[in-house]
């Protein structure tokens, strides 16, 4: 049972890393600025998923703490850049 669980975790980890490569390609060659910003937001969310999977694999709680910080900072950055694009000024 342990070996099946570890196999599922590693397969999910590799799938999420491949999806991060796809999102990074979309940031690099996006159609417009909102598309690239969506790619950055998706890259942050997928990094968060990879951190949760690492916490499940290595059984350390520190990865979930890092994921909480990353979620808060990615949220603030995306909101600030969206407001900058919409109003052409930050404040």
């Amino acid at each position: 049972m342990k070996i099946i669980f570890d196999t599922v975790l590693y397969i999910s980890l590799f799938i999420h890393i491949a999806l991060m490569a796809v999102a990074f390609w979309r940031v690099w060659r996006g159609e417009n600025v909102i598309d690239r910003l969506m790619g950055l937001d998706l890259l942050g969310i997928l990094t968060l998923a990879v951190l949760v999977l690492l916490a499940l694999i290595f059984r350390r709680i520190i990865y979930i703490d890092v994921a909480m910080g990353l979620a808060a900072l990615s949220f603030v950055g995306t909101i600030a850049l969206a407001k900058y694009i919409a109003d052409e000024q930050m404040f």
Binding site: M1, K2, I4, F5, V8, L9, I11, S12, I15, H16, L19, V22, A23, R26, N32, V33, I34, D35, L37, M38, G39, D41, L42, I45, L46, L48, A49, V52, L53, A55, L56, R59, I61, I64, D65, A67, M68, A71, A72, F75, T78, I79, A82, K83, I85, A86, D87
Partner: protein
């Protein structure tokens, strides 16, 4: 006991991975900014939340912070999607295949 918790956790991990794959596939394939935004919302709200449900069930050390992170993700997912859609509408990105625009009078700033 460990076997029961792993049997609960494995379908949650598979469901989260499925929603992440579907969301990124929609992010590549859909024709419009707004529909792509609809697809990427699935990754944040369903994919990571199901992985965190698996973490809450399987790891006995992480259930408090896992629940806090689930609550945080459910709050910040729609707020981010709304901000990006509002910015795309404000700079005038076109919709594909729309026959009527009810928000056109919000564009004159």
């Amino acid at each position: 006991m460990d076997t029961i918790l792993q049997v609960i956790a494995i379908p949650a991990i598979l469901t989260g991975t499925f929603f992440s794959v579907v969301g990124v596939l929609g992010f590549i394939r859909l024709p419009d900014v707004y529909t792509r935004l609809h697809a990427t919302g699935k990754v944040g709200v369903f994919g990571v939340v199901f992985l965190l449900i698996a973490a809450v069930f399987w790891a006995p050390f992480a259930w408090g912070r896992g629940l806090i992170l689930i609550l945080l993700l459910i709050i910040i997912g729609p707020v981010t999607a709304h901000a990006l859609a509002s910015a795309a509408n404000r700079i005038g990105l076109p919709r594909k295949g729309s026959i009527r625009d009810d928000l056109i009078h919000h564009l004159d700033l």
